[in-house]
């Protein structure tokens, strides 16, 4: 079985999307062949499309952007729709991680992927909405299944089992296991550190432009 793991974050490095795909890879085990595809820009290469067509299942992992799919990835999806082979039995899965705490906020983005499947004729087979995705890079050293990522990894493990069995599952919605008020505090502290590191002041975070 050949499975394509598609990273749809525009970030080339250190994306939460890639962390989630790494975890998934671990749960998929050694008996499958993994094809990594990186979609960081609006154009998908001919080589990538050819590679993708030779796989049995695709897993998209992307961030939630303005309640939907990032613009560059939408552009790739349109390109893929134009090149896809109709009536293929390919199974499509999706992992959408979001900055807000509640994984359910990724519901519409998963629906857009599902609607894309209806257009391409591929089989939408379920996904995960991951809340608190912004915190994943901070705890990326933790072993899968442990700490604040435990619940997310359980959902990923379940998804891996469906992929291996060619199953169709319901979407799962999970959040990082870290109290919401602490997640909010940590993020806000993060913004203040970031603006200072960029040579600015914390109060400029609220700057209003004329």
């Amino acid at each position: 079985m050949r499975i394509a793991l598609i990273n749809g974050s525009p970030k080339v490095k250190n994306s939460s999307s890639s962390i989630l795909l790494e975890d998934l890879k671990g749960y998929l085990g050694k008996n499958v062949e993994i094809v990594n595809v990186e979609l960081h820009s609006p154009v998908i290469t001919k080589e990538d499309i050819e590679e993708l067509m030779k796989t049995d299942a695709w897993v998209f992992s992307c961030p939630l952007y303005v309640d939907g799919i990032p613009g560059h990835l939408l552009s790739c999806l349109i390109q893929l729709e134009e090149s896809c082979v109709k009536n293929s039995k390919k199974h499509i899965y999706g992992i959408v991680n979001c900055g807000f705490y509640e994984g359910i906020q990724a519901k519409i983005a998963l629906k857009i992927l599902q609607n894309w499947c209806l257009k391409t004729g591929y089989i939408w087979s379920g996904g995960i909405g991951v809340g608190g995705g912004g915190g994943l890079a901070m705890i990326s050293n933790m072993k899968p299944g442990q700490g604040p990522k435990a619940a997310i990894d359980r959902a990923i493990e379940k998804l891996a089992l469906s992929i291996l069995k060619n199953d169709i599952t319901e979407n799962q919605y999970v959040s990082i296991a870290f109290p919401r008020f602490l997640y909010k505090m940590a993020a806000q502290l993060g913004w203040r550190q970031m603006i200072k590191a960029n040579g600015g002041k914390a109060k400029d975070l609220g700057k209003k432009l004329d």
Binding site: K11, P42, V66, G71, S75, N115, Q188, M194, K207, L209
Partner: protein, 162 residues
């Protein structure tokens, strides 16, 4: 002010009153996820290609009107890239509204959102998704929803006055 974001290059739909139109004029770069618009050049996108000030424009508008091709219930890549690069309309900090996490306001204006979506075969499910998307956007901008309107083609928008 009405802010129109459209993917139609030769946009000629009449708009009543004070307005600004953001449409494709030269290549657009996509958001690279750097959060520079919050923590480097607050309020403005760091990619300088002529499309970096939508966050500020949103801070001045009373209505946001999207005119776009509908893809899978979403707006088109151009319109979405504009929206992605305009998250600095809000403040980076979080607030909890109706039990869910969202961003704090940067500006005081309340935006009323509507979208006019065109496409030959927009399905019922895509229409539902498009409405949910607009409602979610309104929730995140802390604004209001007017409605989503659907058309078979750009030509069908001919009788519309925005």
């Amino acid at each position: 002010m009405k802010l129109i974001i459209t993917d139609i290059e030769n946009f000629s739909i009449p708009v009543e009153g004070d307005h600004k139109i953001i449409k494709p004029q030269g290549n657009i770069q996509h958001c690279i996820g750097c959060f520079g618009c919050w923590a480097k050049t607050p309020g403005k996108c760091v990619l300088l290609d002529g499309y970096e000030e939508t966050g500020r424009d949103m801070g001045k508008c009373t209505e946001l009107i999207i005119v776009s091709r509908c893809h899978y219930g979403s707006v088109s890549p151009f319109v979405k890239m504009i929206q992605d690069r305009a998250i600095s309309y809000t403040h980076a900090d979080f607030v909890i509204r109706k039990g869910e996490m969202h961003h704090k306001r940067r500006y005081k204006n309340i935006i009323t959102l509507s979208s006019h979506l065109y496409g030959e075969n927009i399905t019922t499910i895509e229409k539902e998704t498009a409405l949910e998307l607009l409602k979610a956007n309104a929730e995140n901008y802390d604004g209001l929803v007017k409605d989503v309107y659907f058309y078979q083609s750009v030509e069908d928008l001919g009788d519309v006055v925005l």
